[in-house]
Amino acid sequence: MPSATASVPPPTRTAATRNLGLLAIAGSVVLALLGLIFTAEDVDQGSSVRIMYVHVPTAWVAYLAFVFTAVCSAGHLWGKKHSLNLDRLAGASAEVGVIFMGVTLVTGSLWGRLSWGTYWQWDPRLTTTAFLFVTYIGYLAVRGLGGTQRQRAKRSAIVALFAVLEIPLVHFSVVIWRSLHQQATVLRPNGDVTMDGLMLFSLIFGVAVFTTIFAWLVLHRNRVLAMEDAMELRGIDTALAARRSEEVSS
């Protein structure tokens, strides 16, 4: 949706991404109408269920992004060409995933304040999300370590595969930790709600809208990263030329 604000088209735009962006904007508007106006309040949760229409899709997209990062990383490592573009896709996807995961944490705790009366519960989903948020911040830090593009790609691909292995382990351990201790001290700790048809449709529609936004963001970010990598390679020419002229003058 933000591309609409730009008067000069960004150099990463193509017809396909433009249509994808328009689709994302239209979807967001429809989602807002559905989620904020047309759906009824939940029997148990009241109006706080309206947070769910953004909270659940962002959480879904964050996990999707991390799995996509892992898939691209595996493709980079085991592909014949060791494609750098797959590495950039992995990086773009992880960045977007971290943003959505941060959003998930914030909206989750706002929802928790309404439903549980407290911003933070050691709920398995919230706890897992918090751990993974930090993990992928670490992954992005690894991407920024420097070195050549090949080094960056190999290093971050391996870390991405480690990180994706952590998802089930962290989640599983937190779930059984919570199930053994402190049972049902909060109201509906897992956030499940009984939904009517329109509510369920809005939720699924929200997932579709945010997945579109994700695809749109990753495509654009991937192109900027490609331009940055190309610029870095061109920088070598400049540096070589500089070194040569310095040699002549000295």
Binding site: G138, L145, Q151, K154, L161, L169, V170, S173
Partner: protein, 232 residues
């Protein structure tokens, strides 16, 4: 094939005994880390002044201390390699990185288990925790597998933070969220062994299973990933 596996284990043994020897010479563990951990245990006893609470926090305290100690120990383990660029010499010597990795993990496990043994012993005395024979078996297994899980990941991320020079802050950022399952599992299993909060010993074994899975997964992953990650 088996010759190269034997060779890898030979290298692992050489690296592990070298690391432990360096650690024994420097005495940082015995002269600095252990006394610090012990004084924290004692201060906790003053601060909480309640046997019931102390028995409840003892398992968590032991594993939190182990986790933070692992950061220091693994950083030292790789600082030794970096001090005089021995890591370059190891790379150039064509030494199998799997061997270096397994050696590092083994040395880390030995140090962490020694550290946990002292802390658990202190908890028994200071916090009046009771452990029966079955509980002792559980406790020993937990310490071994918990340390293995921490060490398997710490060695990988420690190697990575050495490769990207001057990025020491990277290690805790990567390691701490990743070893959360170990912290949870080992603490619960230790609670069962200590009988804290009415926990029974048999309740601890499923957690040991989690620790075993974690250790196996990351030991395998680390063996494959350590070489490419530290290869600069």
């Amino acid at each position: 094939m088996s010759a190269s596996i034997n060779r890898t284990f030979g290298i692992a043994k050489a690296v592990a005994s070298k690391d432990l020897r360096v650690e024994m010479r420097s005495r940082v563990m015995t002269n600095q880390i252990l006394p610090f951990a012990a004084i924290v245990m004692v201060l906790f006893a003053f601060a909480l002044d309640n046997d019931g609470v102390l028995q409840r926090v003892a398992p968590g305290l032991v594993w939190m201390a182990t986790l933070f100690t692992s950061l220091v120990v693994v950083q030292r383990s790789f600082a030794v390699e970096a001090a005089d660029s021995a890591i370059d010499a190891l790379r150039v010597a064509g030494v199998a990185p799997q061997g270096v990795y397994l050696g590092k993990v083994a040395a880390l496990v030995v140090q962490l288990v020694a550290f946990e043994a002292v802390l658990a012993f202190l908890a028994l005395i200071l916090y009046r925790v009771n452990v029966d024979a079955h509980g002792a078996v559980l406790l020993v297994t937990t310490c071994l597998l918990g340390s293995l899980g921490i060490a398997a990941l710490a060695a990988v991320y420690g190697g990575l933070s050495i490769a990207g020079r001057g990025r020491e802050t990277l290690l805790p950022l990567l390691l701490l969220p990743a070893v959360a399952p170990v912290l949870i599992g080992a603490t619960r299993a230790t609670e069962s062994a200590f009988g804290s909060d009415g926990a029974r010993v048999v309740e601890g074994w499923p957690w040991v299973g989690l620790l075993a899975v974690f250790g196996a997964v990351f030991l395998f992953g680390g063996t494959l990933g350590f070489g490419p990650l530290t290869d600069e």
